[in-house]
Symmetry: C2
Subunit: 395 residues, 2 copies
Amino acid sequence: MSQQRINKLRKILEEKSLDAFLVSNFYNILYLSGFKTLTENEREGWVLVTTKNTYLFSDNRYIGSLSSRGVKRRSDLNKEEIASLPSVARNDIITKLITPEKGLIKHLQEIVFEEKISRLGIEGDDLKISEFNRLKQKLVNVESIPTEKLIIKQREIKDEEEISSIRTACQITDKCLEDIVKTIKIGTSEKEIAFKIEFWLKEKNYDLAFYPIVAVDKNSSLPHYDTRSGDNKKIKKGSIILIDFGAKYQDYLSDITRMIFIGNPPQEMINIYNHLLNAQQKTINYLVIMRSHDNYCGKEIDQYCRKQLTTSHQPLIADIYPHSTGHGVGLEIHEYPKISPVSTDEIKAGQVFTIEPGAYMTGKWGMRIEDTVLIKENGVEVLINFKKQLLTLDF
Amino acid sequence: MSQQRINKLRKILEEKSLDAFLVSNFYNILYLSGFKTLTENEREGWVLVTTKNTYLFSDNRYIGSLSSRGVKRRSDLNKEEIASLPSVARNDIITKLITPEKGLIKHLQEIVFEEKISRLGIEGDDLKISEFNRLKQKLVNVESIPTEKLIIKQREIKDEEEISSIRTACQITDKCLEDIVKTIKIGTSEKEIAFKIEFWLKEKNYDLAFYPIVAVDKNSSLPHYDTRSGDNKKIKKGSIILIDFGAKYQDYLSDITRMIFIGNPPQEMINIYNHLLNAQQKTINYLVIMRSHDNYCGKEIDQYCRKQLTTSHQPLIADIYPHSTGHGVGLEIHEYPKISPVSTDEIKAGQVFTIEPGAYMTGKWGMRIEDTVLIKENGVEVLINFKKQLLTLDF
């Protein structure tokens, strides 16, 4: 699969008249090569895609064992041998060992010379100024050209392997929330719920997509309440609970938000909940309708959703939610397309994003309903299956 | 305390003839202002230090509540009011709200004009090329000057508040490992131990400093074995277990490595363990001796430690460990000073770093012993207290 991703990138490079592209971003490296290091920010791995070859640079901790096997080219191996290899080696990627004596720059100098590279694309939205300066200084006769969003925009359209992982991450999320809901009692605190979600996932060798937001009562009125640093409210009779979390499965993420009510909520809350749910569901239906049209983009979905909340007979919600209606989900929790009031990201088959309108009563309480959805050629698949009807717990 | 840190930075700015400094790095912002956002890489907060003022820029999620209180200057408040404020407001920091209409750049344009800033320092080792280009383009008549390691080098010397947090993080680490050792049995897997460490900490509202390395038998021969992606070996009779982990307490970290042996290890292992322990302990003693000398640096400690392993009567270990002897620890797990073969970082009072020599028998097993130590004016404090004598478990 990685080979197809690399070939797609090569087409983009050709359009931009680039001879090669240096990938520094952790997630872009993972996307292209299947290779992952322990830290995201310590520059332990790099990928270079040229017109002919793909190179992976890393140190002994990560690729020592690959190099020592002498594995260089897939073409040298039989089918069984290929299947038994780590994904990096499976994808015909040439590994280059970084040592204290021979760092990235020295490797690049050699390759640039061998492959006669004169225009080298770099990730302008990832590479640091000081890294860029060193590169320009050391790679003489090479023009280093900053680009923006080149691979992250390619990552917007998920392939089958990616969709399968996200679908599983969403199923895990459904199951996790079902189990967690059963553990909620009077007196349970926000952090206890967040902790239970984390442990439920990690016990099963999954991971969190991000630290869960669990917001009780007044805290639910803050759209991005931080449970870790918050006042850790406990659940009491009549409480409203917002739970926003996601799972990570094979590096891919899911995202969900659901509301839980302790006892029967007042009619006002029920009305607003149903109003919000109606808007969220209608927006998903709108996506289905729009699949038969060409050229619609993030802002149209965002605007449609906000309109549902304000223009029905009773404008229950005065202040419309101060965040986007949704965001792409993949290897990272915030990807493309953006579903925001100003987004011109075109909606296309293969995109995975959230639909998550909210209703916040400042200083009182708030609600959000969020699903992760997949855009298909002829429709939309809602990847989250956890029920959305008013969920009340009685004790 | 933050005010002192900001004043120190101002002195550096003066030396470099900079009128102001824009801080983009998550940990540097936390260090200077006590302010922390949910994500490290999404640029949710910025700090600007000018000769007169310190500004914090962030959005409604983080500083909405501060601004709405109208808190601008500490001088307007009485002592009790100051104590009740979030740390950002306590430190006389002016908060500026980032909105879709008024982003960082617009705020900077105003301040640059008001305070007549012509030379603006930026973090060249943190700011991305595209961010830098936007800044240069939008801040006309301002020279944007990339700097390197300016604040991270300042962070090398810990103040009392920081030392106190690191000391507590080390105490937590000691206690955690004591409890974890009790849970180890025949059949326990690497991931189970890592999981127990993580949950022990999180249950108590602490956090991991980094994902624990738990390496059993052959895996212990890999200096940076990744427990998450590894083959999850189980403990059996005669196993050797390497546990390398740390705790996070009030944003500050600790780092420890200890070995555990199941049953009585063969004499060769015991000899190498004692040899390694002797080298590690002698290096700590060497630090104490060197405190009475001026001007010694990381590489001298590193070389001293390696020499202890190779030049005693019996050179038990042929291959000297392929990693540094140590690294600074603070808000991040790898800080300054570096204790490596080439490090010219001078050793000074207030530094906190690790001493962690290892002995690795390729393909067989490996050992590492690691403490976190604090350099004082007249000596050295070993912050880790977990015992270092050969630890064997019998079942």
